[in-house]
């Protein structure tokens, strides 16, 4: 890694340079917890492109999360080592359909997608699943369990979403580093079953 000098002003894990790098897309409807998840799990200072939600968006963007004042307008970015040999580059997309062009661009080069969803807004997840499938990305659904929201069993959710048995569904708390990490591990494990050549 002679190309890079690590300075003290930017603490964080140092890559050796021989790790496998995998680009992962983090998608989901508005307010699903994408930015929260990338912030929670990234081991380097993440990038976020939050902008205050304005009155221009009222009537277009749902506003039922009292603590949510901002929304992602371009992308989230974070990096996490899953183990010594595997580094995930996480690219979080905006959630609203008006940003789907950006999502498609972010998907370029991605191996798989983590689809975050708030089970109270399943209807908003479907267009995203359609898009991710259209893009040919292997994905795992991560149901973000919000405080105070009703809990559903995996069976019930699969039934409602009419999910194929081959698509993994996991539960997570996007605020938790470990929980988000587990969801990413589930995605990587699922990717391994799909790849002709295993990522070690």
């Amino acid at each position: 890694m002679q190309d890079y000098i690590d300075s003290d002003s930017d603490p964080g894990p140092v890559l050796r340079g021989n790790e496998r790098t995998v680009k992962i897309l983090i998608v989901g409807h508005m307010g699903a917890g994408k930015t929260t998840a990338v912030q929670a799990v990234s081991e380097i200072r993440p990038i976020k492109t939050e902008e205050v939600m304005t009155t221009a968006g009222s009537g277009i963007d749902r506003a039922d999360l009292p603590h949510k004042t901002t929304t992602t307008v371009a992308m989230d970015f974070g990096r996490v080592n899953l183990n010594e040999e595997l580094v995930l580059y996480l690219f979080g997309a905006p959630g609203q359909t008006r940003f789907f062009d950006i999502l498609e661009d972010l998907a370029h080069g991605a191996l798989g997608a983590l689809v975050l969803c708030d089970p109270r807004h399943l209807a908003e997840t479907y267009p995203i699943l359609d898009l991710v499938e259209e893009l040919g990305l292997t994905y795992v659904i991560a149901v973000n369990e919000f405080d105070g929201a009703d809990r559903y069993t995996e069976e019930r959710l699969r039934e409602v979403m009419e999910l194929a048995p081959s698509i993994p569904l996991v539960f997570c708390d996007a605020r938790s580093r470990l929980s988000t990490r587990d969801a990413l591990i589930a995605l990587v494990q699922h990717l391994l079953t799909k790849l002709p050549e295993p990522v070690r």
Binding site: M1, Q2, D3, Y4, I5, D6, S7, D10, G12, P13, V14, L15, G17, N18, E19, R20, T21, V22, K23, I44, R45, I47, T49, A74, M75, F77, R79, Y89, F91, D101, I102, D105, L106, A107, H108, G109, A110, L111, G112, L135, G136, L137, T138, K194, E197, V199
Partner: protein, 136 residues
């Protein structure tokens, strides 16, 4: 999925920085991963910049429809800050070159130099091809 560390590319990028007030240079893949950078850019910064510049390029490209109706071809993005500039241009197929510079930089000179650098870089990704992914 290749970790791209290209000492020879770094060397070319370092040379670009002898333009007065030029600061850092970095080559990224269009999908937002670091290919090489000039000395003095640590890896974590490089990875963040590669990611955000890929977004910047993507947004710049899509805003082209405001320039001409048929969405004219993107060539360069220039961003001005209080204390300097950021320039992004295409660098071969599927990669971009980004350079930062202080406010005093000669914009024409650095743009010209970046184009020359791209010629020298050839195709930055050709030596480090990424494995085909499920998404083309």
């Amino acid at each position: 999925m290749t970790q791209a560390a290209r000492p020879n590319l770094s060397w070319i990028l370092n040379e670009l920085l002898d333009i007065l007030h030029a600061r850092h240079a970095l080559v990224l893949s269009a999908d937002g991963l670091t290919v090489a950078s000039s000395d003095g850019v640590n890896r974590n910064l490089a990875d963040r910049i590669a990611a955000s510049v890929s977004g910047l390029q993507s947004l710049s490209r899509s805003a082209g429809e405001f320039v001409t109706e048929d969405n004219t071809v993107w060539q360069q993005t220039m961003v001005q800050y209080q204390d300097g500039y950021l320039f992004v241009i295409a660098a071969g197929s599927g990669s971009h070159l980004v350079v930062s510079a202080g406010s005093q930089v000669d914009i024409e000179a650095i743009s010209y130099r970046m184009e020359k650098t791209v010629e020298r870089l050839g195709d930055p990704l050709s030596v480090a091809p990424r494995e085909p992914s499920t998404q083309g």
